[in-house]
């Protein structure tokens, strides 16, 4: 048998997959691991999205208060922070003045955080 013939024969032999009686079990094991990994990833991305959403909402709220404080002719930074904190406190205490209950308001904020988290999660999966 020539060298080339033998190489071709060897190629053929290597390309013939052996038969494994547990081939289906192997495939299911891979699918299970895939599923588990996928669930873990979704959980992780969801958690990361939730945290990111929380940070995002915090940033929005902080920026709004800071701008408000900056606009009230407080020149020193310490003064601005102090005023912002006081405004936050007064906003918290005056929640009762809103037409909805504070519980509903906080629930809305919570849902907003979740929605933002969900959006970030989706965006992460897409890109």
């Amino acid at each position: 048998m020539s060298e080339l013939d033998f190489e071709l024969r060897l190629d053929r032999m290597f390309s013939e997959p052996p038969h494994f009686p547990d081939a289906e079990l192997f495939a299911r094991d891979v699918e299970t691991r895939l599923e588990r990994g996928w669930s873990m990833r979704r959980l992780f991305i969801g958690a990361a999205g939730g945290v990111a959403g929380l940070v995002g909402v915090g940033q929005f709220m902080g920026a709004g208060l800071f701008l408000k404080a900056a606009g009230s002719e407080v020149t020193s930074q310490a003064g601005a922070v102090g005023k912002a904190a006081r405004e936050l406190l007064s906003a918290s205490s005056s929640l009762g003045a809103f037409p909805v209950s504070p519980e509903v308001l906080w629930m809305t904020v919570g849902l907003g955080v979740l929605a933002l988290g969900f959006a970030i999660t989706r965006a992460t999966q897409e890109f």
Binding site: M1, F14, S15, P17, F20, A27, V30, L34, W38
Partner: protein, 191 residues
């Protein structure tokens, strides 16, 4: 079940595209089609059955992670085999099971020509030394060029070539049909 039947008729490239879009049943079908080939390759490379199956699973999970890189230019099976072979080589190195100095021919029994008419490839591969088995498996089983095998094994190209050559010589002797069988086959061919 209907989903399994739906993906069963698709080509590997179509299944890979579906898997890239997150369709895990499509990837499951790819595992069904190529699982045995990957497991077989790893065993031929010298991995124990349990280790071979673990690495084969890891290879498929890695393939799923990197499925977007598979463009369908080559065969999906060959692509996964390369991933599996590289994972095994990495593990092999980590375990320090082999060094270049370990090229002793103790594992090779090429000189003992068996009179058994047919010896299958798996048995024949057992007669090679570890480096020979590894190099022959990478080049013929995983479809790598000598240069790719050398890079994967982090071994000089010349060393890989000589391992392949020696391994091939042993396999040629080992897989050669026994004289009696050869004559029998010849006779049947003339009938």
């Amino acid at each position: 079940m209907a989903q399994t039947r739906a993906v069963a008729g698709l080509h590997d490239v179509e299944l890979a595209a579906l898997a890239a879009a997150g369709e895990r049943p499509a990837f499951g079908e790819l595992v069904r089609r190529h699982g045995s080939a990957v497991r077989g390759l790893l065993r031929r490379m010298g991995a124990q059955p349990a280790l071979a199956d673990d690495i084969a699973q890891d290879a498929f999970l890695t393939a799923f992670e990197r499925i977007a890189e598979f463009r369908g230019e080559g065969a999906f099976g060959a692509w996964v085999k390369r991933i599996a072979a590289r994972l095994y080589v990495r593990r092999w190195r980590k375990d320090s099971r082999l060094t270049d100095e370990q090229e002793s021919e103790d594992a090779g029994h090429g000189g003992e020509m068996s009179t058994v008419a047919r010896i299958d490839l798996d048995e024949a591969m057992q007669t090679l030394s570890d480096p020979e088995r590894m190099c022959v498996s990478l080049c013929y089983g995983a479809g790598m060029s000598h240069a790719e095998a050398a890079e994967t094994l982090n071994t000089p190209l010349g060393t890989v070539k000589s391992h392949v050559k020696r391994g091939m010589d042993k396999l040629r002797v080992r897989l050669a049909p026994a004289q009696g069988e050869g004559r029998e086959a010849e006779r049947q061919g003339h009938v």
